[in-house]
């Protein structure tokens, strides 16, 4: 899976609430039917955190060490909204071209 897709999926499942690494992948599996590979998942988490789109849910060092639960930031929500709206526009155009009415 492309790394941008992985980042998008992580943001999507985190929009529902904070989760730790394994739970993020379980949520992605429920959404798409397959888990992300470890390199894709933790690469996406590192990139999203570096871009300040997600952050640890508990700021205390001890909690970060034990749980590493991540939550989406306000910037992350804005970014996700923009990406999803763009995808929705593309999806609508594609479905219209195929003669299928968008749901």
């Amino acid at each position: 899976m492309h790394s941008n897709d992985a980042q998008m999926l992580v943001l999507t499942v985190l929009a529902d609430g904070p989760l730790h690494g394994y739970a993020i992948n379980t949520a992605i599996e429920e959404l798409t039917g397959s888990r992300l590979g470890p390199g894709s998942l933790y690469g996406a988490l590192s990139r999203l955190e570096a871009r300040e789109l997600i952050r640890p849910a508990d700021e205390t060092a001890e909690a970060q060490e034990r749980h590493r639960t991540m939550q989406i930031t306000d910037t992350g929500r804005d970014q996700l909204r923009v990406e999803l709206q763009q995808m929705a526009r593309i999806s609508a155009v594609g479905l219209r071209a195929l003669g299928i009415a968008p749901a």
Partner: protein, 254 residues
């Protein structure tokens, strides 16, 4: 050591400290089918240091400083492993073919960690250098004594293979211990700034790209042989790694 532990150890230290346990758990749970993705993920993260979650200030710079020296050591071993090519021969008598070495040495100079200029600090660095380099220096001395004694010239079969193995293990050991020394010095020394380190990586990458080009140009004029071509390819890959990492580092906040 399990495959999960081994694969986790391939990740940059900062990522390993933050996510190592989870990566290991995920690899163990998914089994062998997750190995290619775990490997590719580790390689991608090494090429993108701006994405590393620093667990202490300066961690990325410290790791990259050691990595830059490791990259140079690998280049040295690579050039030694191939028939030393006349196209990349470095020396005062060969200024044209030494061209590639200029940006490489400049890059190393820029990235070198500088120990504090105090008597006590310099004594500590010297003691660490003696401790770290004593064993490889002994191995090199033993290798030179064996070569000068002429014994190696008369060896055949297994004994000859053992001598070749000893030679390469010694070179590898020297390279490893030099990187260990850089890592040791980097713990207390003034590290290069992110911008400086990024520039150093770009210079090292340029030097390696020049070496690859010089080697390739020399190979084009002659009958194609796999040796010089694979050497150029390996140098090119090392150059691409250094340049890509250097460019990505520019994204890091100072």
């Amino acid at each position: 050591m399990s495959a999960a532990t081994l694969l986790t150890r391939l990740y940059p230290p900062a990522v390993r400290e933050r996510w190592g346990e989870d990566i290991g758990h995920e690899v163990s749970a998914s089994g062998i089918r997750s190995w290619p993705d775990a490997l590719a993920g580790a390689a991608r993260l090494w090429l993108h240091p701006a994405d590393w979650p620093e667990t202490f200030t300066g961690q990325t710079r410290r790791v990259l400083t050691v990595a830059l020296f490791a990259l140079t050591a690998v280049t040295g071993l690579l050039l030694r492993s191939a028939e030393p090519s006349a196209a990349v021969t470095a020396g005062f008598r060969h200024p044209a073919t030494s061209l590639w070495l200029v940006p490489l040495l400049f890059g190393i100079g820029l990235a070198a960690p500088l120990p504090p200029l105090s008597g006590e600090a310099l004594r500590r660095v010297t003691a660490a250098a003696v401790r770290t380099l004593a064993a490889p220096a002994t191995a090199v001395a033993a290798m030179c004594l064996t070569a000068w004694s002429g014994i190696a010239e008369h060896l055949t079969g297994l004994a000859d293979a053992a001598m070749v193995l000893y030679y390469w293990l010694t070179l590898g050991f020297v390279a490893f211990r030099l990187c260990t020394l850089v890592a040791h010095i980097a713990r207390t020394a003034a590290l290069p700034t992110t911008r400086r380190l990024s520039t150093a990586l770009l210079y090292v990458g340029t030097g390696l790209a020049l070496a690859a080009s010089q080697n390739l140009l020399a190979a084009v004029g002659t009958a194609p042989r796999p040796g010089p071509l694979s050497e150029s390819l390996a140098l090119g890959l090392l150059a691409a790694t250094a340049i890509s990492t250097g460019r990505d580092l520019r994204r890091t906040r100072a």
